[in-house]
């Protein structure tokens, strides 16, 4: 299967589990925000991931469910038990689909039909007034209500900045245009935006113009980390495409459709010499009046080829031709252009002014952009002086690390900010010298001499910079700020390039504002301080509170490793044999001793390896207990019995396989208990019991076992009824009916085909009886015991091994053959004089600690010849289904750890062998299943 789908399935299972738990706790405490949040997250993840696999119905259902939860989270729906029923059943459908996906890799074709009732039921939960809201929510990304519109007045000046040729090119290239103004937030660099990059990538961009949003601040108050630019874009893409492109900064853009007519206005020098075109004007007029547009281009083209394009009238004619070629948008426009040829007055009122809902007007206008052509400064401006003085200061602060960069920056400032006549001739040499000597002094002296030689500084700028202590501090702060921000050099470079771009593309905005005095210093240094305070602690503080790392590993690999470790544990058992052989056969005692000591080491390693492996596979039983609150809730609602489920010891751990094998038997036991065990509320009250029944699910770790208890305070089991029922169904003989003890009678429910329920209910009696439970538990290497008191309740205990991989067996010998018997059932081993065996009827028995225990012979059970015991008889005392029996054997051997392998092929039908194992010396040991063996009798 596709590994992504696999991961989706396992992940969704976890999330569904969590979701259903959350639903149940929501029922208890409907407004718990944490639970709500977890629930929402779980559902959300399933939905989000499902979208990857084209599971239409699946995603749709999750989507509706999420809508409902969203409203519930916002407090717009109060979830009650009925709602939760609907949601849970929807989750059940999702679980079914997950199973389907796992089995077939896709959803069945009927998925849509199956989803429909759930979707309907869920939609009904959404109150009418919120229905739209939900729809809106899902469509929210598509709504453009928030996009600001621009009016013609706002873009007029921007259009005015385009040359006639530019407008003409745009006009000819496109059939529809949109004007967009993107004014990024000042702080946009801090959200990782790159406005220039975004603007340049505008789809079908015809023209991009960058303007400063306000007059440039003086160089010392300019913060390069703030975006001060605005982008005017003309694009031939439609609005939707543009809004989609700018969707992350939707609030920062304004746009409007750009009427092609807006581009068409003449520009140029009025020429009094009209001889070139005066001839064609009457004919042109006729064509315009007759609206025979197709004749116009041919008429005008020759003139355009000959004439000087910068002439006003020619510009008019060019536009007339272009508009005529477009099959005419506006007759009045052509007429207005025509009039302009004759009068020099272009008068065309824009009829299609778009209504503008934004009152804000753009701060930059054409005037700002033209102010820069003022007279050249004859002397160094105050700003440049401040700049130089600041550079000198910065040089003083520089150290060997950053000296080179500083020198470069000074050099650049000299070359870019100073008029040519002020650049010192020896600048390059001094810079070189500074770098070589690792000292900024020569450069500082150069700057100072330059500052002194030019006209003295006027009042407020440098004087204050040099003398005012506070200002000095400011510069120091600036330097520190810059050091703190050194990490962002690349970004700064990007900013720089953005600034360069500005001066290249926009029609020269004034680089430095000449009038504005130095101000805003404080805010800059304030910023620097906050910068430092916010960045430093983070840099110093090591990342702590790291959670323990979790590694997800395919269970199959763990299983393989587990098997290998199991084999190793067994293989090491061959060493003692080897030692014995060395001693007995080859008579090298020293070697035997060495092998034994090595064995001790390997043994220790193997054992600790095994226990570590076991811990790896350990999972808390809570993983299956979690399913029960839901089950009990559903069942008790369905059966109309009020039952409280109490989980205890969920944190106890057991092997993953064991825990997983436990799930089905437990579900069956809990179902049984609810269906048959508990009385109805009325019955309970009549019996003087609390109206609410209690069902305990307990996990109790004990040695190398974990005991799972299902304990109810229901009506208990009636042994007499059980006996009768078993007799009627032919499970026990009449003779047995009389002799069977009450305790034994309880275990009759494990007999195949036994069911006490008078009628088969749809909950428990599904043909899977307790025999199946018993079988499953035994398969997992465990056993089941029952305690029941009529009228008081029933306790069923599952004894499960912590791990299934390695089990402990005792080796016994019968007629020179070795067999393994699981240690679980063995109570003790005794040797008794043969005369203590009593004959009772056909059988034998022994009295052990005042208790009569039947004695069986393993020989006869295995159809081997009986052994005649001379003196003592070795007996294996076992506990099966709560009853003790003694088993006669020939010899006890040691207890060993084995990895049990199920019998395969022909042998698999002999269920009185539970499996086989390989011994250290290479022999195969058959493991006996005593219970099966007894039932074969």
């Amino acid at each position: 299967m596709n590994p992504m789908l696999e991961s989706f399935i396992s992940e969704s299972r976890d999330n569904l589990e969590e979701a259903s738990q959350c639903f149940l706790s929501l029922e208890q405490s409907p407004n718990d925000p944490t639970v709500m949040q977890n629930l929402f997250r779980a559902m959300h993840t399933i939905k989000g991931s499902s979208g990857l696999f084209e599971l239409g119905a699946f995603t749709h259902l999750m989507h509706v469910a999420e809508d409902v939860l969203d409203l519930a989270r916002a407090g717009k729906i109060q979830l009650n038990s009925d709602h939760i029923d609907v949601l849970l059943s929807a989750m059940d459908q999702i679980t079914d689909w997950i199973d389907e996906l796992e089995a077939t890799g896709e959803l069945n074709t009927d998925a849509d039909n199956k989803a429909q009732p759930h979707i309907l039921a869920l939609s009904e939960m959404i109150p009418v007034e919120h229905k739209e809201e939900c729809d809106e929510l899902s469509l929210a990304t598509k709504s453009h209500q928030t996009t600001h519109r621009l009016g013609y007045s706002e873009i007029e000046s921007s259009l005015g900045c385009l040359s006639d040729q530019q407008r003409f090119d745009i006009f000819q290239n496109a059939d529809q245009l949109t004007f967009l103004r993107y004014t990024p937030q000042e702080s946009c660099f801090f959200t990782g935006d790159d406005p220039l990059h975004t603007a340049r990538l505008t789809p079908s961009c015809q023209h991009l113009r960058i303007v400063p949003v306000a007059k440039w601040p003086t160089i010392d108050s300019l913060d390069p980390y703030q975006c001060q630019l605005s982008f005017d874009v003309i694009s031939s893409a439609d609005e939707e495409t543009l809004i989609d492109h700018y969707r992350y900064v939707e609030d920062d853009i304004k746009l409007c459709p750009l009427d092609m007519c807006w581009l068409a206005f003449p520009q140029g020098q009025w020429s009094d010499d009209q001889s070139l075109f005066s001839d064609v004007l009457p004919e042109l007029k006729t064509h315009i009046d007759k609206e025979s547009w197709h004749n116009i281009p041919n008429l005008i083209a020759p003139i355009l080829e000959l004439a000087n394009p910068s002439v006003y009238q020619i510009s008019c004619m060019r536009w007339i031709k272009a508009i005529a070629e477009k099959e005419v948008l506006e007759k009045p426009l052509i007429e207005a252009l025509f009039t302009a040829i004759e009068t020099g007055e272009f008068d065309y009122s824009l009829k299609s002014e778009v209504n503008s809902d934004s009152t804000e007007s753009h701060q930059t206008d054409a005037d700002t952009t033209t102010t820069d052509t003022g007279p050249q400064e004859e002397y160094l401006s105050n700003d440049v002086k401040t700049l130089l003085a600041t550079q000198a200061r910065m040089l003083e602060f520089s150290n060997s690390d950053d000296l080179e960069g500083r020198v470069d920056s000074v050099e650049r400032i000299f070359n870019h900010a100073l008029p040519e006549e002020f650049i010192p001739n020896n600048l390059l040499d001094v810079c070189q010298q500074a770098k070589q000597e690792q000292s900024a002094n020569p450069l500082i002296i150069l700057i100072r001499s330059l500052l002194d030689s030019t006209s003295p500084l006027e009042t407020n700028s440098l004087e204050s910079t040099e003398n005012d202590a506070e200002e000095t501090l400011d510069i120091a702060t600036l330097v520190r700020q810059e050091q703190a921000l050194r990490a962002h050099e690349s970004e700064a470079a990007a900013d720089e390039s953005a600034l360069d771009q500005t001066s290249l593309i926009s029609p020269a905005p004034s680089p430095i504002d000449l009038q504005q005095p130095i101000s805003d210093r404080d805010s800059t240094s304030e910023l620097a301080r906050t910068d430092l305070s916010s960045t430093q602690p983070v840099a110093k503080e090591p990342v702590h509170n790291q959670k323990p790392q979790v590694l997800k590993v395919d269970q199959h690999r763990i299983d393989i490793l587990m098997d290998l470790v199991g084999e190793l544990v067994v293989a090491k058992n061959s060493l003692p044999y080897l030692a014995k052989k060395a001693e007995d056969e080859f008579n090298v005692r020293a070697l035997a001793k060495e092998i034994k000591s090595q064995y001790a080491i390997i043994n220790r390693l193997a054992e600790s390896m095994q226990s570590t492996m076991m811990q790896i596979r350990m999972v808390p039983v809570s993983t299956i207990f979690q399913r029960f609150p839901r089950l009990v809730r559903d069942l008790s609602r369905k059966l109309n019995k009020d039952v409280r489920l109490v989980l205890e010891g969920e944190e106890s751990e057991a092997d993953k396989n064991v825990v997983e094998n436990l799930a089905d038997p437990l579900i069956h036991l809990v179902r049984n208990s609810l269906d048959h065990g508990f009385e109805t509320e009325e019955e309970r009250v009549a019996l003087g019991k609390p109206a609410q029944g209690s069902l305990y699910l307990r996990a109790i770790p004990k040695d190398d076992q974990v005991i799972i208890e299902v304990d109810d305070d229901g009506r208990g089991m009636d042994p007499a009824k059980l006996k009768q029922s078993a007799y009627r169904k032919g499970i026990i003989s009449e003779q047995k009916l009389e002799t069977i003890t009450d305790q034994e009678a309880l275990y009759l429910i494990f007999a195949p085909g036994f069911s006490t329920a008078e009628q088969v209910s749809d909950l428990s009696g599904r043909g899977v009886g307790m025999d199946v439970v018993n079988g499953l538990v035994q398969q997992a290497g465990g056993r089941v015991t029952i305690d029941s008191e009529l009228g008081k309740g029933t306790t069923i205990r599952l004894y499960l091994p912590l791990t299934m991989a390695v089990s402990r067996v005792m080796m016994v010998e019968v007629q020179q053959q070795c067999f393994g018997i699981s240690m679980e059932n063995i109570v003790e081993t005794v040797k008794v004089p043969h005369d203590r065996l009593l004959r009772i009827k056909q059988g034998e028995a022994i009295v052990l600690r005042d208790k009569v225990i039947p004695v069986l012979s393993l020989h006869s059970l295995l159809a081997l010849p009986e052994t005649q015991f001379e003196e003592e008889v070795p007996l294996l005392i076992m506990n099966l289904n709560g009853e003790d029996i003694a088993l006669k054997i020939d010899l006890f051997h040691e207890g060993i750890d084995i990895v049990q392998k199920p019998l395969a092929g022909l042998m698999s039908q002999y269920n009185y062998y539970s499996g086989s194992a390989l011994l250290g010396d290479g022999r195969v040991l058959l493991i006996l299943n005593i219970k099966e063996l007894l039932s074969c009798q």
Binding site: S7, G48, T141, D194, T198, A487, S534, T535, V543
Partner: protein
């Protein structure tokens, strides 16, 4: 090669996006929760972070805020993964410092085109 850090509690999402991005020629690392992501930031120094919004423990918004406290990440773009029903979260994420968002499920073309947009030079 531009480095991208993916943060999502869903392995499925991580796998799918990682595949797409690696094929598109990016260097990709993944983290399954906020703390792991933060631990990776310093050593990996990604050029772009893409984070899920709904995660157990630390949610996406909180993660973005924490990432933004890291001096070296202040100007790095961060994209947030959401579903369409969380309009208000987009605003919240934006104010926390996210550059933009991706709507789940993300198609490979969307993913790469959005990354081209927010990651100059990619």
């Amino acid at each position: 090669m531009k480095k991208i850090l993916l943060v999502d509690d869903s392995m499925t999402m991580l796998m799918s996006m990682e595949g797409v991005l690696k094929r598109a020629g990016f260097d990709v690392k993944t983290a399954t929760d906020g703390n792991k992501a933060l631990a990776l930031i310093d050593s990996y120094a990604p050029d772009l972070v893409i984070t899920d919004l709904n995660m157990p423990g630390m949610d996406g918004i909180e993660l973005i805020k924490k990432i933004k406290q890291n001096a070296s990440m202040r100007f790095k773009p961060i994209l947030m993964l959401t579903t369409e029903s969380q309009e208000s979260k987009k605003v919240e994420a934006k104010s926390a410092g996210a550059t933009g968002w991706l709507v789940k499920p993300v198609s490979p073309t969307d993913l790469t085109s959005v990354i081209k947009k927010v990651l100059p030079g990619s």
